[in-house]
């Protein structure tokens, strides 16, 4: 198992510093959350990690490899999978095909193999489809396997995204707001899936989420960004009490609520509930 080390990561766009010398480490097998106000640079960070954006400076290392200048597909090949904040599925393909895409790097059939239906390609297809069905069941989308993604509701599409990322058999999973658009119960179910995925598959997870309850419940460690800078880091309980974090991100009410939920100790309160 390998750690993800982000050091001094800086990303600038014309006239805007989206990330400013940010650094953190995701320990192998842990769930690490990145939180922060809107526009703080969380997704930008994910985009650099997955090769969509190129860092202005700084470095990203995963295991022995330096990801900083790699194109997305090479990063994927190292076992880094992600979901997107805005759904990025193939709307006109079935759920099954969308999830099968996750198997791309694990399979080999090319134009010739698939076109001529060579025996190895057919065997490969059968094997991996079976696995995709398992993953779909795991995430809870198996009833939609045949449906084109565009026909599904928002929440279900989010789950399909997770299934697709899991289908890559990643070592590191980047989740960008995985429970957006889900209600309390559904969030909890998703949290279960994420926890189970880590346990069953032994992967590290980097999580961006605005639902503090989720973060409190899932994360081993939290990094807080604001205006592209790291303003806090530590365990969930630590950062949640950090006045800077409360000022910039949580607001007093939410902090109280999360606090309450946390101190209640139960696996409850994924919602910022007010009395």
């Amino acid at each position: 198992m390998s750690a993800l080390e982000v050091t001094d990561l800086t990303v600038r766009f014309a006239g805007l510093t989206a990330l400013d010398a940010v650094g953190f480490t995701v320990r192998p097998g842990s769930i690490h959350a990145v939180i922060g106000p809107n526009g703080a640079g969380k997704s930008t960070c994910f985009n650099v990690l997955s090769g969509v954006y190129r860092a202005t400076s700084g470095s990203v290392r995963f295991g022995g490899a330096d990801l900083t200048r790699m194109p997305p597909h090479r990063i994927a090949a190292l076992g880094v999978a992600r979901t997107f904040q805005n759904i990025a599925l193939s709307r006109f393909q079935s759920v099954e095909d969308n999830v099968m895409l996750g198997r791309h790097r694990l399979t080999r059939a090319g134009f010739v193999g698939a076109g001529l239906r060579l025996p190895f390609a057919r065997r490969e297809d059968t094997r991996h489809r079976a696995r995709v069905r398992d993953i779909a069941r795991f995430v809870g989308v198996s009833e939609y396997l045949d449906a084109p993604v565009g026909m599904l509701s928002y929440g279900v599409q989010k789950r399909v995204e997770l299934a697709r990322a899991l289908a890559m058999e990643p070592k590191l999973l980047l989740l960008d707001e995985p429970v957006a658009g889900m209600n309390g119960g559904e969030r909890r179910a998703m949290a279960e899936v994420i926890v189970a995925a880590r346990a069953d598959l032994d992967i590290s997870i980097l999580l961006v989420e605005h639902d503090m309850g989720m973060v409190m419940r899932l994360a081993d460690e939290v990094t807080v960004l604001d205006f592209g800078r790291r303003i806090a880091a530590g365990t969930p309980t630590e950062v949640q009490r950090d006045p800077e974090v409360i000022r910039a991100y949580l607001g007093v009410q939410a902090a109280d609520a999360a606090d309450a939920a946390d101190s209640a100790g139960a696996a409850a309160g994924s919602e910022s509930e007010t009395a």
Binding site: S43, N47, V52, F84, Q85, N86, A88
Partner: protein
């Protein structure tokens, strides 16, 4: 050296006509993201109306009638055909315009028959001498018209609600509808405008030094493709730049073709496309086009 300047001037003068045609493409593209293959036939409509009316009602009224007529046909195409298409896909709609073009062009060329129709324009074949270089008056008129129209549309797209409606509708029809934008009205408006522009372009395409409107006039519309794309398909000022670049390239490559024989004769036709490719390799969305966004 004079040859060079002469070719430059000639290139600019041809280019201004290309720019006018390209502007028509750009308007439709900006408003609907459809590549309009029927633009050539709208050109024929406009030109035809001007040509058959100018003797009876005079040149300027005929131009107005031509502009109105082509606008009406453009709007009718939108109303009768594109609006009914349930496929929202832009590429599919582009194919519909091919069908429309076949129908319209066949009917118009049938009407034009074997004639070469004069436009009855006031410029005739007068040449204006600028520093010893002759340039046709018609072409000066074309350049001025193109520049004016392009400036107007640039403003309109940027600053008017009409422009914003069009661009919003082009990008996301459903959400545009949610903003209260009347999609059908917007796209009909765009088609009407494109028709009107086609009529103006047709006028300058068929006056001196061309003898008049005939059935082959519409072929020239093809040359506006590289012009439109090179400037950036969604940029009005790009249409002007693109038109001029294509005109210049063509003129220079033709004028110097005897020095370029190693490329084969007739390179004048190919050169604009080569220039287009080179520019697109450097700027994949054309000189002034908006780059596709890439963020997730």
């Amino acid at each position: 050296m004079t040859t060079f300047i002469e070719l430059l001037v000639n290139g600019v003068s041809v280019g201004s006509v290309y720019a006018l045609i390209a502007l028509g493409f750009v308007i439709i593209f900006k408003a609907t993201e459809v590549v309009n293959f029927a633009h050539a036939s709208l050109l024929l409509v406009g030109g035809y109306v001007i040509a058959i009316l100018h003797e009876d009602i005079g040149f300027w009224p005929a131009v107005l009638a031509g502009v109105a007529g082509a606008a009406a046909v453009g709007a009718a195409v939108e109303f009768l055909v594109l609006r009914r298409s349930r496929a929202g896909d832009h590429q599919v709609l582009a194919i519909v315009t091919i069908g429309v073009d076949i129908v319209l062009t066949t009917e118009l060329t049938r009407r034009i028959g074997t004639d070469v129709l004069a436009m009855g324009d006031p410029w005739q074949n007068r040449i204006v001498n600028i520093g010893g270089i002759g340039i046709a008056q018609t072409r000066i008129a074309a350049l001025v018209t193109a520049a004016t129209l392009i400036a107007c549309f640039l403003m309109a797209f940027r600053y008017t609600s009409w422009g914003i409606s069009m661009r919003a509708a082009a990008e996301d029809r459903e959400t545009a509808a949610l903003m209260g934008i009347r999609l059908s009205r917007v796209s009909m408006g765009a088609w009407a405008v494109a028709g009107a522009l086609a009529a103006v372009a047709a006028l300058f395409l068929t006056v001196f030094p061309t003898p008049g409107l005939d059935r082959s006039t519409s072929f020239v519309a093809l040359k506006a493709f590289p012009a439109a794309i090179l400037g950036g398909l969604d940029s009005t000022s790009g249409a002007l730049a693109g038109g001029l670049i294509i005109g210049l390239t063509e003129s220079l490559a033709t004028g110097y073709q005897n020095d370029l024989t190693f490329l084969g004769r007739g390179i004048g036709e190919v050169a604009p496309f080569l220039v287009m490719i080179v520019i697109l390799l450097i700027r994949p969305a054309g000189l002034f086009g908006t780059r596709e966004l890439a963020r997730v």
